[in-house]
């Protein structure tokens, strides 16, 4: 999408300032009818963001909007849908994660001939009855109904949507019989069947889709590696693969293969018969593969994920064979050591992303990494890197090893969490001019860390977790002007006052720390301006994200123990710091919510 011009952005901002400003323009019916679709969509997005939209206001967009994205909007329900049903030019409607959407809400879409794309992913109340409404949208080309309540019977009904080219049935109990009835969909190019009940018998039916180029069979019982002539992308993650089916003819070469967590029964054969010369993306992370000779032919490979595989230094030669085009290489949790990185050095001229976390590499590897000229993102977390080398014989002389990273002219992001690097060894990083993201996490880091990083000219995100930073150290820190996020989780010496003071001095910086939760509740109770209502959805989304993170065993969410009133009373007690909480983020400046 083309970037909005400055004046358009200002107009939209002015139009969405408050309920009153909306009332000023919503009756300009003639003008609204003439509004170009991209402007009307931008206006609608802004109203959604500012929580100013309500169902009957939707009507003003009915002559102009062509694409509407309501993903994850909790309020979207049947009433909204009743208005959307009248949108004459609506081509694409995204309702993913709108949990109030049910079968009767979808009834509003019946017979909308303009609609080509509908996304109902994870609308859990949508079932087979909803599918009956959907099949009346005869021109539908793209449909996403993954993780809904649709059954195999509902899936079979979709066979009447002859124009479908994209169909996402992920997580639905699709059976072989149901798939059989979909054979009428000859235009199908993209089919997602992860987690379905498809067996090998059903998989053979897939041969009858002449244009199928993307297929996802992850987490199914399919054991045949289908070498379909049209297939370009195949995902068989977490499947057990025991045979390869040759479908004959002039096979189209694969571009992308994902076998994460797959088990290969006959390893030697796995890649023997397929044309991999044009493959650009290969994910065999966590798979059962032991030998990596197959890599040698994949000359076009750009993305290679070997995370948690059995790869060791002896197989690095195979990566060297395909190193010429590699951009992204994940070797985390493998048996690769510094010696292996030495073999790789000099053979990966285009490598931009490299992950070596949870490997046994040490400081020797850093000098090899510095010979990979295009590196942008490097993950060295959970390794044996110390930041210096002691030469044998000269115990007193320590050579700083991070200086090697100064050779990487494009280095933007560096992760050194859970390494043994201490403050004095970090100094070489202050001359990495392009560095914008830096992650550190170590209990021996002190205020000097902040000091030596303050001269990085492009730093936008800095994580210094679990360190012994003090309030006076934070006070003395003059952050680079580009800094936007400072993550200080687990820096237990910092006080609420110290952080508030820093936020006051640097309103443009967002801080993450355990005590921030307190500051944010304070703000919410004090402020009555409309933007405070926006904070709730943002924070709840953040919490949802956090749920996926592993939670330490001593973790007790204090919000469960106390009522809101009790918590508010507790927030000023110094004890609250003693319970480390994984959540806690707030933008210090309410204005910035309105800006984003």
């Amino acid at each position: 999408m083309e970037k909005e011009s400055e004046l358009i952005r200002r107009c939209i901002e002015a139009a969405c300032r408050s309920k009153e400003s909306v009332e000023k323009w919503r009756r300009q019916r003639r003008t609204l009818e003439r509004l170009p679709s991209h402007l009307s969509q931008a206006l609608l997005r802004s109203l959604l963001r500012r929580r100013l939209i309500f169902p009957s206001l939707l009507e003003v967009f009915k002559h102009s909007a062509e694409e509407i994205d309501l993903r994850g909007e909790n309020s979207v329900d049947a009433e909204w849908m009743a208005y959307l049903g009248a949108f004459r030019y609506l081509r694409s409607l995204n309702l993913a994660d709108c949990y109030r959407i049910n079968n009767s809400a979808i009834w509003s879409l019946v017979g909308m001939t303009s609609l080509k794309e509908v996304d109902l992913s994870r609308c859990m109340k949508v079932s087979d009855a909803g599918v009956r409404h959907i099949i009346s949208i005869s021109n539908l080309e793209k449909l996403w109904i993954s993780e809904t309540a649709v059954t195999a019977n509902g899936v079979a009904l979709l066979s009447s949507l002859k124009n479908l080219s994209v169909l996402d049935l992920g997580g639905l109990p699709v059976t072989d019989t149901a798939l059989n009835s979909l054979q009428a969909l000859t235009k199908l190019q993209y089919l997602d069947l992860w987690g379905s009940k498809i067996s090998n018998k059903g998989a053979l039916v897939l041969q009858s889709f002449p244009k199928l180029s993307f297929l996802n069979l992850a987490w199914t019982n399919v054991t045949i590696f289908l070498n379909l002539s049209s297939l370009e992308c195949l995902n068989m993650s977490n499947c057990t693969i025991d045979s390869i089916l040759e479908c004959g003819g002039d096979e189209a070469p694969f571009l992308k293969l994902v076998f994460a967590g797959a088990t290969f029964m006959n390893e030697a054969e796995a890649f023997l018969y397929i044309k991999t010369s044009s493959l650009s993306y290969l994910d065999v992370s966590k798979s059962s593969l032991n030998r990596f000779g197959f890599l040698a032919d994949m000359k076009m490979l750009e993305h290679l994920d070997l995370n948690s595989s059995a790869l060791g230094d002896e197989s690095v030669e195979m990566i060297v064979c395909v190193g010429a085009n590699l951009k992204n290489l994940n070797l985390s949790m493998t048996k690769v050591s510094s010696a292996g990185i030495g073999i790789l050095a000099g053979h990966v001229p285009k490598l931009e992303f490299l992950s070596l976390s949870h490997t046994s590499i040490d400081d020797v590897a850093l000098s090899y990494i510095s010979l990979m000229p295009s590196l942008k993102v490097v993950d060295l977390s959970n390794t044996n890197i110390k930041g210096f080398i002691i030469h044998p014989g000269t115990e007193s002389h320590m050579d700083s090893t991070l200086t090697a990273l100064q050779n990487l002219n494009y280095l933007e992001s560096l992760n050194l969490e859970h390494t043994q690097v201490r403050d004095p060894d970090l100094y070489p990083l202050s001359s990495c001019k392009e560095l914008s993201h830096l992650s550190l996490r170590c209990a021996s880091l002190t205020d000097a860390t902040l000091h030596c990083l303050s001269s990085l000219p492009k730093l936008t995100t800095l994580q210094v977790r679990d360190a012994v930073l003090t309030t006076s150290g934070l006070d003395a820190f003059s952050p680079p002007t580009t800094l936007r996020l400072l993550d200080l989780m687990g820096c237990w010496l910092l006080t609420e006052d110290g952080i508030s003071l820093f936020l006051k001095k640097h309103p443009e910086i967002e801080i993450r720390h355990e005590v921030i939760q307190n500051l944010s509740t304070e703000q919410q109770t004090i402020s009555n301006c409309p933007s405070s209502s926006q904070q709730f959805p943002k924070i709840s989304r953040w919490n949802r994200m956090q749920e996926k993170l592993p939670i330490p065993e001593f973790f007790v969410d204090q919000r469960l123990k106390y009522s809101r009133e009790e918590l508010l009373a507790l927030q000023f007690s110094p004890l609250s710091i003693e319970y480390p909480r994984e959540t806690g983020s707030v933008t210090p400046n309410l204005q910035s919510f309105q800006r984003d």
Binding site: S5, E6, L7, I8, R10, C11, I12, A14, A15, R17, E20, S21, V22, K24, W25, Q28, T31, L32, R34, L35, P36, L39, L43
Partner: protein
Amino acid sequence: MKKEDTVKLISAEGMEFVIDKEAAMVSQTIRNMLTSPGGFAEAEHGEVTFPEISAVILEKICQYFYWSLQYSRGKETEFHIEPELTLELMMAANYLHT
């Protein structure tokens, strides 16, 4: 003010606005009209007619041109837009690429 340094912008109703060429150039569309080598009539006479833009909106647009020039020179003031003008102004801005 010399004539070659100004342009005349004419609204739908025929209202004429004479402004600095430099200010008018804030709009990519007007810049193209005035500078393209094809010899547009606009370039020759220094006049551009906008049959779709009303005088109220064109006036606001001209104000924006000048404000934008000042803003780019580091003068940070607010450009106020009345909510009732937002839709029309947005469409004009879209047309003028400004």
